[in-house]
């Protein structure tokens, strides 16, 4: 185990991917000369050259579409959409081409495309730069949706994604880049099937993913001091969802809170909640609760942004309510 930052983990994954397969290349806005908005590809232009590290013009729909085309043409593109916010401009290419062409063509074409993007709020960058739309992506059949929360997953999921024959979308929570974690060097590539129990517990299941994992773990810490044993489930893969692991946890704890930085209505948390009901209703001692973002464009000032997002305190409070109720 080595300690590295999430950014370093992403960098390590990218470098290994580029080194390991000549068909792999990286393209996106400012991945080259600038070194990547989050410095994930700093130095790569020099290391791998401009053929493989491609700065694109501001044209999300087209460079994502070009990624689709390049994948159809035998390459293994890693497309970086700077942030999920700008990916809205590329959704047509994603929904109607990337996710669809394989099935629609009767299985004649594969699109081994990896798209990475930063997601989430928490850095005071205001309404247009703070979206969490992983739940939308998880709605689209034909793609795989990953939310690495740990440094091991940040590196390993990228490598695993490149082994998939179909499009994979990786959401890196922007808040995590500077944070450090323990890298499990053996986990390479990581499994893309199972959710992970990040902390075992017996009283309640906290189910979450991405940036919110760390908030859930912090809440679990707080709750432990009060004698409440919370199990923390990291979904890791939002599509296809490993609901069995969730059900197993809930069958043990009989209670659950789902934490998701998306706005509450239509959040991915709703899906998890609905599936818990569908598969573990008779194991539940109380209704599954959700801690999501307040339904408001995320405001700039810290006190309001904090209030808008899930926080450990809010999670802990919700747990107490569920246990008390």
């Amino acid at each position: 185990m080595t300690k590295i930052t999430y950014r370093e983990a992403v960098r390590a994954g990218l470098r290994e991917a580029l080194q390991g397969d000549p068909r792999v290349f990286l393209m996106g806005e400012d991945v080259g000369k600038y070194g990547g908005t989050y410095a994930c590809s700093k130095g790569f232009l020099e290391e791998f050259g401009p053929e493989r590290i491609r700065d694109t013009p501001l044209s999300e729909s087209t460079f994502v579409g070009a990624g689709i085309g390049a994948a159809l043409g035998g390459m293994k593109p890693i497309v970086e959409v700077m942030t999920v916010n700008f990916s809205l401009l590329a959704l047509d290419q994603i929904v109607n081409n990337a996710a669809t062409i394989r099935h629609m063509s009767g299985g004649q074409f594969s699109i081994p495309l990896v798209v990475r993007m930063a997601t989430g709020a928490g850095r005071q960058v205001a309404a247009q730069h703070s979206h969490s739309l992983e739940g939308w992506y998880a709605h689209i059949p034909g793609i795989t949706v990953l939310a690495p929360a740990t440094v091991t997953d940040a590196r390993g999921m990228l490598l695993a994604a490149l082994q998939e024959p179909d499009p994979v979308f990786i959401f890196e929570h922007a808040y995590l880049y500077p944070l450090e974690g323990e890298l499990d060097e053996s986990a390479l590539p990581v499994d893309l099937i199972h959710a992970a129990i990040r902390r075992a517990g017996s009283d309640i299941s906290l189910i979450t993913f991405g940036g919110s994992l760390w908030k859930a773990l912090e809440a679990a810490d707080q709750l432990a001091h009060e004698g409440i044993s919370a199990e923390v489930v990291d979904l890791r893969i939002l599509r296809p969802l490993d609901i069995s692991t969730v059900w197993a946890s809930v069958r043990k704890t009989h209670r659950a809170v789902v934490i998701d930085e998306g706005w509450r209505t239509g959040s991915f948390a709703a899906e998890v909640s609905a599936q818990i009901m569908e598969g573990a209703f008779f194991d539940l001692d109380s209704p599954v609760a959700r801690v999501c973002s307040v339904e408001v464009p995320i405001p700039y000032p810290k006190h309001l942004e904090d209030a808008a997002l899930p926080q450990p305190e809010k999670i802990a409070l919700t747990v107490r309510n569920v246990l008390g109720g």
């Binding site: 087209t62 159809l72 043409g73 109607n96 009767g106 179909d166």
Partner: protein, 332 residues
């Protein structure tokens, strides 16, 4: 008649245009009979474009089309049977029947759709060319789209990216003067489409899309330019659609007169006339052609009729690639 065109080739061009015309006339009939459903966009009137362009590509080149792509697929070489079966929605269709009229695909002929979101094929074509470029293949990607697509942002983004990276894409605009019911001058402030290429430092040319030989000559020149590493090229084919936009269209937006005038320029009739005058084709030749085509169509229809439906249990097959026997599950 230009002496550079030999008789066999000329006859083939005529035959190919007729194949599209007759095939689509049959489609219209089958649509009325309920055999073909959904949207059906006919290419009738524009045949000279696909027929003139297609011989300029090698089998290694890639083709990206729109929802009005019957002609392109047919001339590219996909047999009529699988195309007709696709229109029927049958399992022997060129996309297992899943896509129908708007979504022809044929991997062996590098035919990448059949994409029905206007403008959506351009970025994909740029990417296909990028893949060729990065793999040092001297292939060309031909991307067909309509005048309506020119207004979409992806036209702009794609020409810029292709030019910036000097990618071997041939942008082929089939300007039939209408985007559905909206006339060119009502959707483009600059109606000279070829002229737009200057905004990307891309060379361009507009040609008479009703003249199969002119289409072929211009396309061949453009393909050469692109194949030799000079980057993209934009060709504007000026053409006209004789039929309604789709089977639902009441054609309120143009006069019968306008259509009639354009029919005077029917690419098939004119070319046939030309060949007759030159003595390249006799009435018997034409009869033979028509007979052969009718037989081909009849065979295609019976192929489609006899084709099975895709079994229900395959509904979710190919949403994901089956891997090591493990199929990512689809839920209902």
């Amino acid at each position: 008649m230009d002496a550079v065109v030999d008789r066999d080739h000329a006859l083939d061009l005529l035959r190919q245009m007729l194949r599209i015309r007759r095939f689509e006339e049959k489609c219209a009939e089958l649509y009325s009979g309920g055999k073909i459903r959904g949207f059906l966009h006919l290419y009738i009137g524009e045949e000279a474009v696909a027929v003139g362009a297609m011989p300029c590509f090698t089998s290694e080149d890639a083709i990206v089309g729109t929802y009005r792509e019957h002609g392109h697929a047919l001339i590219r070489g996909t047999p009529m049977g699988p195309l007709m079966a696709e229109l029927y929605g049958k399992a022997n269709g060129c996309a297992r029947g899943r896509g129908g009229s708007m979504h022809f695909f044929d991997a062996t002929r590098r035919f990448y759709g059949g994409l029905a979101i206007v403008g959506g094929g351009l970025p994909v074509a740029v990417g296909l060319a990028l893949a060729d470029n990065m793999q040092q293949r001297r292939r060309v990607t031909a991307c067909f789209f309509g005048d309506g697509a020119v207004a979409e942002g992806e036209f702009h983004e794609s020409l810029n990216l292709a030019a910036l990276w000097k990618l071997p894409v041939l942008f082929l605009c089939e300007n039939n003067l209408y985007a559905m019911g909206t006339a060119l001058g009502r959707h483009q402030s600059q109606t000279d489409i070829a002229r737009k290429a200057d905004a990307y430092a891309v060379p361009a040319e507009a040609v008479n899309g009703m003249d199969v030989l002119e289409v072929e000559a211009a396309t061949r020149k453009a393909v050469d330019f692109v194949r030799t590493g000079h980057g993209p090229y934009l060709l504007e084919y000026r053409t006209y659609r004789f039929r309604a936009h789709s089977m639902y269209d009441a054609e309120l937006y143009r006069t019968k007169d306008e259509v009639a005038q354009w029919k005077q320029r029917d690419p098939i009739a004119l070319f046939h006339q030309q060949l007759r005058t030159e003595g390249y084709v006799t009435d018997a030749d034409l009869d033979n052609m028509e007979t052969a085509i009718a037989a081909e169509i009849a065979e295609a229809v019976s192929f489609a009729e006899m084709s099975p439906w895709e079994p229900m249990e395959d509904l979710t097959k190919d949403v994901y690639t089956a891997k090591n026997g493990f199929h990512r599950s689809a839920q209902s």
